[in-house]
Amino acid sequence: MVRPIAFLVGCVFVFALVIAFVMPREKAEPNLVEKYHIEHVELPLASDGPFGKFDRQQLQRGFQVYKEVCSACHSLHLVAFRDLEAIGFTKPEVKAIAKNWATEVPDVNPDTGEPATRKAIPSDYFPAPYANEVAARAANNNALPPDLSLITKARHGGAPYVHALLTHYKEPPADLPASLKPPVGLHYNPVFANLNIAMPPPLVADGQVTYADGTKATVDQMATDVAAFLVWTAEPKLENRHRTGIAVVIFLLIATVLAYLSYRNIWADKKH
């Protein structure tokens, strides 16, 4: 009985699929965006590859770009000031950075119980520039600046995408169809999925920040540095991971060779 029933069921499924297969398709809308969109981008960083390590000098420069440019709108709520020690800042430096941070940390007035703010300390997470989503949208033409902690892991293309996004703002090309022209308040950027992004160009001129280590702050350099910094915020344990991984792989290679030899030894007199 099983096979006749199976045959019948099989025929029904196949028939339903054949009908779906031959059904004429509606003509797909031509994808206008594709012609202008930049899909593949690259950015070699010191943290790439199995032996990759962070370039701490670069992370500090990237942090400076975040502090002086990005942090005006973007939060970094998974990173604490204390974490900055991992990219080479000393304890007193971290303390000073926290204390002088532009946004204060929400707190409660100990005398009245009223909401208040206070200066940040190293154990605080980076305070968000806006009190809440409504405030963020109100200040940004109804767009919400995303938190940047995980941005290089939360976007296809990762750090190279962030770098490309920051460096590809330009005037819309003359042949751009009217439907793709940036509406008021949006900005043309071919790296962004639909070509028009709410974020105004954040890095506009060389020398926008003044690097302490004397590196020339070109737009490309600032974008590279902040992308590298955001790789660190998304994956702070990357160096541990690479280091542990090398040791684990070496151990496993030796163990596997030993296991193979013991297998050959045990089976030596047994044809199989």
Binding site: V2, R3, A6, F7, V9, G10, C11, V12, F13, V14, F15, A16, L17, V18, I19, A20, F21, M23, R25, A28, P50, L78, D83, P146, S149, L150, K153, A154, R155, H156, G158, A193, A234, P236, K237, N240, R241, H242, T244, G245, I246, V248, V249, L252, L253, A255, T256, A259, Y260, S262, Y263, I266, W267, D269, K270, K271, H272
Partner: protein, 428 residues
């Protein structure tokens, strides 16, 4: 169980004798995966994957229990609690990456294990029960993996839960109430997250229980082998330990090497970037795709695009998707060929490889956007999938003329050569 020439457990140490008298647990282990289990001598590397699947389950349970100590199953803080595991828990990043990639490794070795069973006819008499229990394990694994993917409460977690629980709403009349009952609400939220966490913690132990039944059922006829020929005598078998423990040890080494390369050097390769964005019920991702191991089934779901026989397309898709797995329960009775191994089935062998290619095509179509040519590709591959199991396989198995089988495993292995009798059997 198994063969009369199986070695008997004879504890030498008085302590083990004492334990064995009171509770013969060491004996059970000895007979299950020790020297007391005679196994065909000719198993190839494809037979490593059962043990590897068991290892993967152990890895998942160990890492999962520790992760559960740090994870908070609450829709408000689940996402951040996972990130705190990644950042603040000692070696938390390793545990979490091992667990998420461990799921991929588990499913990968189980898929190979299933295809090995298909190629060598391991589902056929007298091992039908082994196969049936295996399909149950596979279903439980899929449920567990799906609920685990919801726990980080990222965008793909949320929208995956939305899509998958949406299957139930395809059922006429009672569908929507069933979906609400499963979710504990109208959309995935805290109630759903909590019950998924509870079940995600429970099901692996159910899987472990069914694995015990799977192995128990296996030990009654004993393991199949690449020739598919029954074991005829002691010369055809070797004791599981040390012969296959050593071979599995090597297999485990390779398994952990690949696993380590993923965890330490490409931990997000198999994941989706959208799951690093916190769940947002108000923003639908551009492409909702499941994890790679569900893509062939997702392709079958998407392939049904027209209403047919008064049944809406969505219900067809859901029925076909569940049907594509449930039909495996009937496989032992769909394939009537008396020959197990495809080595001796000249026609079926080609259809087996066609099925492998078909599943790869389904996998590719499942991960592609819903536009041509991918939709038609998926429809063609889905039709072939059902045709393979429900139409081609029964017909081929009835008409095919198998090649002559070897008389015994030993004959197949030695190819007519003599073998010096093992020292223990040599006549004095």
């Amino acid at each position: 169980m198994s063969f009369p020439w199986a070695e008997h457990y004879a504890p030498k140490h008085p302590l083990m004798r004492w334990v064995d008298e009171k509770l013969p647990l060491p004996r059970l282990v000895y007979n299950a995966v020790g020297a007391g289990y005679p196994v065909p001598r000719n198993l190839n590397y494809w037979w490593n994957f059962g043990v590897l699947a068991g290892l993967a389950l152990v890895v998942q349970i160990v890492t999962g229990i520790i992760l559960a100590m740090h994870y908070a199953a609450n829709a408000g803080i689940a996402f951040v609690s996972v990130e705190q595991i990644m950042r603040d828990v000692n070696s938390g990043w390793m545990l979490r990456y091992a667990h998420s990639n461990g799921a991929s490794m588990f499913l990968a070795v189980v898929y190979i294990h299933i295809f090995r069973g298909l190629y060598y006819g391991s589902y056929k008499a007298p091992r039908e029960m082994v196969w049936l229990l295996g399909v149950v394990i596979f279903l439980l694994m899929m449920a567990t993996a799906f609920m685990g993917y919801v726990l980080p409460w990222g965008q793909m977690s949320f929208w995956g839960a939305q899509v998958i629980t949406g299957f139930f709403s395809a059922i006429p009349l009672v569908g929507e109430p069933i979906r609400e009952l499963l979710l504990g609400g109208f959309a995935p939220d805290n109630a759903a997250l909590n019950r998924f966490f509870s079940l995600h913690y429970l099901l692996p132990f159910v899987i472990a229980g069914v694995i015990i039944l799977h192995i128990w059922a296996l030990h009654i006829p004993g393991s199949n082998n690449p020739t598919g020929v029954d074991v005829k005598g002691p010369q055809d078998t070797v004791p599981f330990h040390p012969y296959y423990t050593s071979k599995d040890g090597m297999g485990a080494g390779v398994f952990f090497l690949i696993f380590a390369l993923l965890v330490f050097f490409a931990p997000n390769l198999l994941g989706h970037p959208d799951n690093y964005i916190p769940a947002n019920p108000l923003s639908t991702p551009a492409h909702i795709v499941p994890e790679w191991y569900f893509l062939p089934f997702y392709a079958i779901l998407k392939a049904f695009t027209v209403n047919f026989l008064w049944i809406p397309a969505k219900l067809w898709g859901v029925m076909a998707m569940f049907g594509s797995i449930l039909l495996l329960f009937f496989l032992p009775w769909l394939d009537k060929s008396p020959v197990r191994s495809s080595r001796y089935r000249p026609v079926y062998k080609w259809f087996f490889w066609a099925l492998v290619a078909d599943v790869v095509v389904l996998w590719y179509a499942g991960g592609s956007p819903a536009e041509e040519p991918y939709v038609r590709l998926g429809q063609f591959a889905a039709a072939y999938y059902f045709a393979h199991f429900l139409i081609i396989l029964p017909i081929v198995s009835a008409l095919e003329k198998p090649l002559p089988l070897p008389n015994s495993i030993t004959e197949a292995v030695l190819g007519g050569e003599d073998e010096a009798a093992p020292i223990g059997l040599q006549q004095a």
